[in-house]
Symmetry: D2
Subunit: 423 residues, 4 copies
């Protein structure tokens, strides 16, 4: 756990300014009929899961350039996740990736206890070969070979088994299956094989679990991908049953696609299950949330906040990013806060006024109503929520001041960099 | 009807060459185990509908530059459509657009009799104001105002009523409803209003009719569109019932999207209803079929030919293009033949060999199997099919030789050009 | 001119709140070492030109839906432009489009005097036929026919002549020339003809004038466009000479393109001449500035503010939008303010700190430095700048309260709507 | 070298059919006024370089799945390249990548002599860390740190030095430098540093060498890339001098971009230097040439064939692909033949007729003229050119029959698969 006194020390110097800014914002919001305390309560209650593997430096097919203190084990990763939550108070759970995070469940639970963390959705991996008898070079759950499919199914069932011991309640399935050439696969039969495998996994779900189907337009397959878009993901969830839902990763769409509309459609269909947050400019860039198109992130949250009262809506939120040029802990902290920021801004939208403008087709004022919420600088609310929960007003400053990265760099084994997947 | 003797005259000069090319191709295909006569039979049986409005010169929001002999009425348009079918023998039906093509059904049937044409799907228009009490500026079937929705519903029901008298069996619904600003509409409620209106129209479908929902990512709405992709179109068809299907327009997708995969998915879902053929490079460019990415057109047909035996599959094929810089009759003839070409090429695919390569994950040979079919120059088969049916070996040459455009230019009133929608 | 007393009345009710917000912001900025008065001065000095034609309701190729009080003449348009500037105090000049705005220069100057407006860049129109002997159906400045090119050149020279009388100092040339089919034009020779025509126009530039080349990836041409990107625009400006520059329209790029980088490159090349501001999600959507991706607008301004001290940099800023579903006056006011907002936010960037982070490859803090400026709610600064200059704290509220639209609707002739360019 | 007798054996069975198809095609082309022997001569003279590294199985950031017989050294790679050329007779040269292919030049020359291969352009690598003192994590030729830039410059100079000993005449520079966050780098100064480094490398070019600047829109950098498009590449080549040219990789552009137009513009500017051939559907997919959009490949060649007579035009052609799911030797053979196919098809275009249609703005016939050439099945010409040069009529069949892959799998050490760059 991050040293409490260092957090206090870091907070002390800026606490007065925060109070002033908070009051000024409160006064301004009050004039608009918004109670800042209500909003602060929402900020406090907000949580997004951190992916264990996100604590390591990511890379591309060209290269990976590790930093100092790369976590070597899931226990290192949980230590790093604890830092993120200690400082931001917004990331109380961790999402595991099997087999990367495989360990004795008892040890994992003990570490969770020690770090104050819980476990979010489980993630399976059939997009690389990690030691099974059958290779996933030509697919996994949709492979033409039944034995390969069986291996992939068994792996997913094992993920559920592990997760059940850890208190997780969901399995997220993303596969890279697809093709690189027109004709390489029969797209219809490949999808049927995928559905067949998913049904086997579905059968293994505990009563109170859910399964998430995650779509992605391309990569690692470059001509076709089995679950390429939300339409296919929806078909999948429909065919599987009531415990099956769709998971939306913000970076997995074709250029120009209106993602917030997909969110709205999946809510309509009763099949929205959760999110993988990140940002992107070109493809599945896995950039830090809110750093490229913050307004798009806000618009997604606008849909979610609007739909809060929808019966049965139960969303799993996770960050899913690749941190290639930053300290992953820092990126995860900033990203958690940017996601939280968009959520809080979306909470400021005057929905009664908006509904009125929409009814009147007053496009200009409807649009202005969203922008007014978006441009409100809610940093004082976020900072105050952190402060009150024992976190840092400025997590990056506190983190750097405490020298955590230097400590783990000294302690953990050095990792070699090198080429990526390309050669 | 196009003068038969002029067709004969045009054919005579090239008939000998055609025979030679046809024989050489037949010999080559025989070596590959393909009977050219079987393929020719398929070419002969092929048909694609022509849109009545496609016979007029199209334009953009910047301008429209009409040509000579623009058709002024649906009867002119049917005359032009007859020329297209007389020469290509591939376009026996015409798709009408209401209110543009509104006329006494008896007169339309008489004209159809005279020109040897039939009527394909009906198309409604609620994307421009054509005289109703309520404006579609802010939407039609999904408008916030119930009276406006009722007007749009009534218009669609009228289209069915007219079509029923003409022997049409389907209504295609494409609406431009959407928004230009985030916040302008509540995307979820807008979709619900759309579904409500569609259900009213669905109730008015005769027993043997179908309704097609057509998706489009954007334009004329530039932030969101109600039926923006095949996922929403699928949800619509699912909620409406068994007479509702999805129609795919090749130019209505986000950049990079794999359209043939959408075709495959809709076949899986039992909801593929038909196509609007055209080609595009950027947006909904409505360019001539097969002129930009002919291999993509082939890959779409590859899915369709592969799925021919699917129980219940019944597809409506129509050309939907905007001819801005060519003689529309010429573009429609060439487009019909390019669509037919891709269909015939797809019919050459060695599906047994392909299935074997797919089972073996022999991506290289699977891909080569498709390309081998695609690169076969099937022009002799197409030309022979036309010739045998009374059409022209080279429709463009025959059309130009006959001077049809000059005749209608002399006969029909001159149309003024001018600005487009922008100002 | 907009009634001063109504502006005063509207301001009075919110002036107290503004003072409070302004002071709170000033205090906060002071802590960051920023003098709010300096920033306010920048806001006050900011100006962006309004396009005369933007005051009318725009449309698409499918339809145009006019509103009430559409301006019928350039004098009506100048009245509307005066309202925009009276209320926002950010749009002192108007950009004319010939032949749409053709009138006796003396009358135009008198009207400018009356409304307190000046004239910005001139815009020529060779993308639609407006009465010349030669049609632009197949191109204008790059047409294969010398007489058509000569007509287009003469039109541009006339635009310069008119502009010179009005005090304008630049001509913006955007042409729709291109092709809809591979092979339709020889792309190399077409470009050479374009350059030849531009050189003729260049010769006609007065000593103190500049010419701007504006690129656009597609539309109205859908396969190729002569000046399709900044590379071709740069080649053009290089070949023409030192009075030739490139103009960047934010909506004229391929999907995913990094526009702020193009800005940076054109500054490097010494060839950036100006901007057409708008926003877009798909193509050249011409949506209101800052309504889709406000952070992108900020990043463009970040480059411009960074480069302010570049010797010789002299930028022409204009709004170029199509207002299809809003009151154009309202959209232009909001857009002018959003552009101003991004400019002011970019002025808050701590450039010394940023340079330090960049030197250290501290990507996280560099990125945070930009976001910190962006998320500052500078509305009090903008409002105060307007107030001090005689404008409205809340221009939309003041405009609506004054009933201007109702007045012109009563006064001006009703305009019929109808189809767009498509049919 | 590939066993001649096995080539003969494979050819023997299909030689008769080839003769028949060749004659039929010759007769058909003669009718169109084309001499098949002239075209065959062009096919025979065609050559495209093979990248040494392309002989190994590629991968993505998610995983790499090696096949059997992966080449372990440059000498293995040259053996594989020899097979490709022996069978296709279209790839007489190999392009080396330093440091991957570093070896004693004398040994390389001896191996080249033995395999009958020559050396094409040299390629430097500063997108991954390969042992230098300074890391390229934050850039190479454009790094903020002078020592890192110096290391990258020295590496490029070493590539020239090695290449000079091998008979190479050009250096291709592609760097991954850019940024992942807005603000991470000052885009203008970063470009200036890049230009400064390139000027140092340029100074080291031997008299008869050229340097190629290769642009790419994104990856591995995901927000900005220093040489992001042909505009920046052109600026670079212009500032460096007359030995500097631009290299176009077909997969390195934004969605929808018209690549053949870029080719045309670079020819106009006198700065087109060469190509990296591949195909793509989404990003830099590095798929096999001609497998996704064969018509696009044809259109590029159409520009090149059209420009053949341009004084000073001297193009370097190389394949640059990532073979993730096929035998790389097979993919390189097929790709070389597909590139050759497009070149030969483009050689069939009736340029006099085309120029006439273009002059008349007969878009339909101009477009048809290109398609007529494209749809000609030139396989007999390609096969005959191979046969006459000692290659295989059907290289894939001959290669598989000879069992080369099994031989090298038995002989070469097994390579472990595993994760890509992501973790």
């Amino acid at each position: 756990m991050f040293d409490e006194s260092s957090i206090h020390a870091a907070n002390e110097t800026v606490q007065g300014d925060l109070a002033r800014d908070y009051d000024a914002l409160g006064e301004k919001l009050a004039r608009e009929g918004i109670d800042i305390e209500t909003i602060r309560k929402r900020a406090t209650d907000f949580a997004v899961a951190v992916p264990s593997w996100g604590t390591g430096t990511g890379g591309t097919r060209f290269a990976r350039f590790p930093g100092g203190g790369e976590p070597a084990t899931i226990f290192d990763r949980l230590d790093d996740c604890a830092v993120i939550n200690d400082l931001t108070r917004a990331t109380p759970t961790v999402s595991l990736h099997i087999p990367w995070d495989k360990a004795d469940p008892a040890d994992l639970l003990a570490k969770a206890e020690e770090t104050g963390l819980g476990f979010d959705c489980m993630n399976s991996n059939t997009f690389s070969d990690t030691g099974g008898d059958h290779s996933y070079k030509y697919g996994s759950l949709s492979h033409t070979d039944a034995a390969t499919r069986a291996q992939a199914i068994a792996h997913n069932l094992e993920c559920i088994e592990i997760g059940a011991k850890l208190g997780s309640k969901a399995l997220t399935v993303w596969i890279g299956d697809g093709s690189n050439f027109p004709g390489q696969t029969h797209m219809g039969r490949q999808f049927e094989r995928y559905l067949g495998s998913m049904k086997e996994i579905y059968k293994g779900l505990p009563e109170d679990w859910r399964i998430f189907s995650e779509h992605k337009i391309y990569e690692p397959a470059f001509y076709s991908t089995v679950v390429q878009d939300w339409g296919t993901s929806l078909l999948t969830a429909q065919e599987l049953g009531e415990k099956a839902f769709c998971l939306v990763d913000l970076g997995h769409h074709a250029p120009n696609v209106n993602i917030e509309m997909i969110v709205s459609r999946l809510i309509h269909a009763g099949k929205l299950g959760g999110f993988h947050f990140n940002d992107s400019k070109y493809g599945d860039d896995d950039l830090d949330s809110g750093t490229i198109e913050p307004y798009r992130l806000f618009l997604v949250w606008n849909e979610l906040v609007d739909a809060e009262a929808t019966p049965g809506l139960n969303l799993a939120h996770m960050i899913d990013q690749s941190h290639n040029v930053t300290d992953p802990i820092e990126s995860l902290m900033v990203s958690a806060m940017e996601i939280q920021r968009a959520y809080v801004q979306a909470s400021l939208v005057d929905r009664a006024a908006l509904a009125g403008y929409q009814a009147d087709n007053d496009a200009l004022m409807a649009s202005a109503t969203l922008r007014r919420a978006f441009r409100t600088d809610v940093e004082p609310i976020l900072a105050r929520a952190r402060l009150d929960a024992g976190g840092a007003i400025d997590p990056i400053r506190a983190y750097r001041a405490a020298g955590y990265r230097a400590q783990v760099t000294a302690r953990r084994p050095k990792v070699a960099g090198g080429g990526g997947g390309i050669v």
